[in-house]
Amino acid sequence: MSSENQDFNKSKAFLIDMTKCTGCRGCQVACKQWNQLGAEKTEFFTGEGYQNPPLMSEYTFTRIKFRDYEKNGQNEFAFYKEMCMHCNEPACASVCPVGAFKKTKEGPVTYDADRCIGCRFCMVACPFGVPKYEWSKALPLVRKCTGCYSRVKEGLKPACATTCVSAITYGNRDEMIKEANKRIAARPEKYLKKLYGSEEAGGTSVIYLTALPFDELGFKPVTKRPLPSYTWQALRLVPGIFLTVGSSLSLLSWFNHRKERIAKEEEQRKSGATPKEES
């Protein structure tokens, strides 16, 4: 949880304009190459359109989701590039018992495989369903998009953003949001007048522009509040509760034992036997 007091405006973000996506899936290939991910045996045409592979997995950190729809009586494709959203305040980083996830100041949320104990809480917590597990292994770890942190910290763009010819812009988050709003203002008939990612889960480092409503494309409806705050409102009480329960029970038992001891002494005094005689 290094994200506190961080200015997210200056961290890097993706602006992904789905109206400019052609569905070439060059980003998927670039991602596999840079991260050296294995191939997956899949069936073509298992999803809508040319969607393949069917789901993100331990071998697939990003993929283009296809959506068939009709416009002016013609069949059209709409796309959604699914990937890690690199939340400003990531749920995965807050729930990880060993702090394996970290929001870097550059923007990407990184994962430290050497720390991970494989509890899969990140997978339960992530509102976007991003972390995936190495189900094929006996001692599995978590895999997810790293935002190409190794490239970004050296001043390069992420692999998918470098490959993409049209849809992905990469830069400071405030500039990306400004650019997105500019595009909406310039061509209001083309865009849905909402950004996905500017407020979702408290704000993310991936901002989407689309033509179709988000839920139709497969975007998950997500709370606007940063997720870590949901658990922290209970967890912050932990030290207080520990001290309160501990001290009140100690006091209570001290009081009750004292009462018993006094009663016992009283009884002994009444029976007339002094302890000195006893011992």
Partner: protein
């Protein structure tokens, strides 16, 4: 050779049921071996949609409240000073210690990297409920182990450690109650992060408090069931009178639990409650069958005094809490149209763990003084260090 023979003969003398339990435990151990050889993906029905399954839902999230008897009873007897319940404490501690040890076993099987379990001790993340729970479970298992050492030392006649343990008794009881409060509730905090996943029938900000209150209900009910059964099947002393007292406390805890539950359901819940009929049925069964019916049963003196009816009510509470934990950690988390059921191997492991619990309890009760404990012969009052004028007096009282 002879030692093996003695053990084999000893096992031959056991009851059929105990031998059956040994088989179940052995099968469970083999099944868990398969998990490490073939991997989690092959042996379980877990996948990226259902990262947590039976092992988390039962072996951790349900087993922890079921082992809550030790801390609840410890606090009732030693802190609230209802001393006549003392004979029930030791069996409760044994159950708790076994329960928590097996929680650790279940957790290690479920972890992807069990050999790195110690990482939680080194890389702290206080923002994680999982960190909190794992620290508490480790601490509390240690506390329970120390409490469990008393009958062991008695058995072998180690007097010096016994004295030390007796001095530690009160601090251990208080530590047990405080640590348990933390992790029983933090198990509820786990699911606070599942904002848009857990159905609003169960999701509300008071989930941790509800988990803690229901854990106490579970703890008390388990003690009632356990004492009834060990009287019936193991020929242990009849504790009916004490169980009546416990059965009098239980409805109060249930009432508090239900009050908080209905308050949070109607006042704090955002989102629709009746949009998933299946979940609604599960919720109604859990609350009515598992809490409201036993509450009304236990309010009548006739039920409290009748051993069978009392145990039935306690069983209902236990079933209600098991269903509640499954609702929160499994059924309520499933998105519409998706379904998880445990694989054969997952089931074998969990059955093995339950069998191990019963088996070890029976064996410990057989070889260690668990039920033969006579607390009335022991003076549990805290030594009087400040009562200087009557120093000799207090010492005399302690010896007498």
């Amino acid at each position: 050779m002879t030692a093996a023979k003695i053990i084999a003969n000893e096992i031959k003398g056991y009851h059929r049921f105990v031998q059956f339990l040994i088989v179940l435990v052995a099968v469970g151990a083999l099944a868990s071996l398969a998990r490490f050889v073939f991997g989690l993906g092959v042996t379980t029905n877990l996948n990226d949609t259902f990262p947590w399954g039976l092992w988390i839902s039962f072996d951790v999230v349900t087993a922890v409240p079921l082992a809550a008897g030790a801390f609840t009873l410890g606090a009732i007897v030693h802190c609230f000073h209802i001393k006549k319940l003392e004979p029930l404490v030791r069996p409760a501690i044994v159950t708790g210690f076994l329960g928590y040890s097996l929680v650790c076993v279940g957790l290690l099987l479920d972890l992807g990297q069990p050999q790195r379990g110690w990482h939680t001790l080194v890389y702290w993340n206080p923002h994680s409920p999982m960190f909190e729970v794992s620290m508490c479970v480790m601490a509390y298992t240690t506390v329970l182990f120390l409490e469990f050492l008393s009958p062991v030392c008695e058995k072998f006649g180690y007097h010096v450690p016994l004295r030390l343990l007796r001095t530690l008794e009160m601090p251990l009881v208080v530590a047990a109650a405080s640590i348990s409060t933390l992790h029983q509730s933090s198990l509820g905090t786990f699911f606070l992060i599942a904002v848009d996943k857990l159905h609003s029938l169960w999701y509300n900000p008071l989930l941790p408090l509800l988990f803690w209150l229901s854990a106490m209900c579970a703890g008390i009910s388990i003690i009632i069931v356990e004492a009834t059964m060990s009287h019936k099947y193991m020929g242990q002393p009849d504790e009916s009178e004490l169980l009546e007292t416990l059965a009098k406390i239980l409805p109060w805890v249930i009432t508090v639990y239900l009050t908080v539950k209905f308050f949070s359901l109607f006042a704090l819940t955002e989102g629709p409650l009746t949009n998933r009929p299946g979940l609604l049925i599960l919720f109604v069964v859990e609350v009515v069958g598992g809490m409201i019916i036993p509450l009304f049963m236990l309010m009548s003196r006739k039920v409290r005094e009748d051993g069978r009816l009392r145990a039935t009510a306690a069983w209902l509470v236990i079933a209600g809490i098991i269903l509640n934990r499954f609702n929160v950690s499994m059924f309520g988390m499933e998105a519409p149209g998706t379904f998880y059921y445990p694989s054969f191997i997952e089931t074998l492991v969990t059955v093995g763990i339950i069998a191990a619990h019963v088996l070890f309890f029976v064996l410990i009760a057989k070889y260690f003084p668990i039920f033969e404990h006579h607390p009335e012969t022991v003076d549990y009052s805290i030594p009087d260090h400040f009562h200087k004028t009557e120093k000799g007096h207090a010492h005399g009282a302690a010896k007498a």
